[in-house]
Symmetry: T
């Protein structure tokens, strides 16, 4: 595994239910197969409050996925 | 929206159930209408452990709410 | 001056023109006389982009003002 | 309580369900009685993605527990 | 204690003698009863040097105090 | 808006005139429509000094733009 | 000294008198001989306020002590 | 050079030999010509330990490369 | 250029007009020729408010300049 | 792997030759089998300069090792 | 005061008695008149433990002093 | 050793070979005798990529050296 290389991208996912779902939504939208993905590190969590719509949980995550392996 | 001004306050909410509820409790106790509030950023999360009472989830959040708009 | 005490509040100001004006707007809206205020430290700067309205410069500042002096 | 001393250890717990459970698992595995423990501060949260196994929520926590009291 | 909420304010106290006194002065000036206050976390320490007046120790502290308990 | 997802990219823009223009140049070069963009957070500001060419203001910004909405 | 190895532990000491004493109390309770200890780095300082008991100064320190030398 | 714009990407490279090689591997895998690249800032270094395979040095780097120049 | 060495100094410049001018004033006062200087990184920005004198923009910058090249 | 728990310890290793060797020495002295260890994150690097003895490279690392798995 | 410029230097002072004295010793050794000095910001505090010599309090401070005023 | 004072300076060294050599070059260029120097803390590491010249390893270090001892 010594020569593998990973790329890291940063995304914000959201959910009306929980930060766990918000992070999962960010992963699903990254357009990558689960094979490529490895780790999603939480950078920040917040809560958006909107008139008459309740709250939205948001999670900013860094996704790392393998792009090269020898 | 160019001239709006927001004030930011910092609060700690707690809940026996989840960090999502802990953050919501901090928001509810801020004594502001939902119209004013906009974002609650999570600063820190922790877990208080108490003899014979189980655990309490706590979330320190920064609440920003509009105080001026032209 | 040895016994003076300062309070610090955090605000976000905005302006269509510059971050200097955004910070000044936060100060003006703080509802304090210039006599009380002393320092406005810039915490973060950002740029909000809105459809058909151009950009808005925003500055989050910490304002410290004297509340006690002996 | 003036002379009490606390020790702090750092652990990573995980759970297939939530970050709340991941933090609780770290606490349970610390091998300490609940009497000794006081606070578990969340350092980082992440999400491990594994082929064909879904995701695992992980929480790195700092546990502080009393070791001396006079 | 699961539903208690704390508010956090930030103040700078000063003293000609020590940082311990500077922090205590910030607490005293907060205009709160000791019942409400719980923790004063030190954010920064500095030393102001003034011509012919010696030095002043200053401590910027975050004060958390209970605002709600169920 | 609960299910929207944002991607974040990081760019450095520069300008001979001001940090405001440097940040705007980063945004313009991102190759995105203004509809997609939402926030440009300033990460760092610096000033490059070049022999016989005066100074160049540079702004490193994080751009977030919507990639999914349900 | 080239091959020596140090271990680092984190502790919170407290004292009714000063942060200097709080840090010293953390060191004394670490259960190590002074020969092993080398440096105690201050991580955070705070002040605990208790009803009818005055204040307690607390210092969170990182202690490094030699565990191996060739 | 006043109007050039740089894009920044984040990658993790690895090597069985050194952190210098790990950073170089991240650069080589970025799929960019050396003409475009300018700086690789080290974000974090770590060491992965694998059963029966020795250690792998890893370097997380931020690569900045020119995308526009006038 | 492989063996060049840079020294870094830290200065605070100020201006009644803008943070761009404040940073430039710090550079001008460093007593170095423009040939030596290379980069001025902005560390912090603030705004000093003075009775009857309006505001002063201040920029704390790190200046790096070449001291050796082979 | 969903229920595994890791403990994290912090150590400083040193070597007359390189930071890679300094980190490896910290790992070897941790008194753990390679089976248990997983990751050594570099916290800080420094260089100790001693009269007549040349330099010593030092690496402060956080070692995480598995303590529980179901 | 709009055009004044300050230089910042970083020093470590020590004292067998307190961190207040350690910071004062750093200031005294800076070789500057009190007229020039303005602020000493505390960067870090630590405690050096030496065999048979008790402890030494150390304070790393940033000193800012005026070098230009118009 | 209780009254010794250290000054800290910040330098960037570079080398075509390794970060170890880059840090050593910064130390050598500081114009100080080895007697005075004590610690070189690594602040940042990066890699400069130049057309047709390969890469240059750079290390920004903080050098502390004794200026006073009683």
């Amino acid at each position: 595994m010594s020569e593998s290389v990973y790329k890291i991208i940063e995304m914000v996912g959201s959910s009306p239910d929980s930060w766990e779902d918000a992070a999962q939504n960010a992963i699903k939208s990254a357009g990558l197969s689960l094979r490529d993905l490895r780790i999603a590190e939480v950078e920040t969590l917040d809560l958006k409050i909107e008139d008459g719509k309740g709250v939205t949980y948001r999670a900013k995550v860094k996704l790392s996925f393998k792009i090269l392996s020898e």
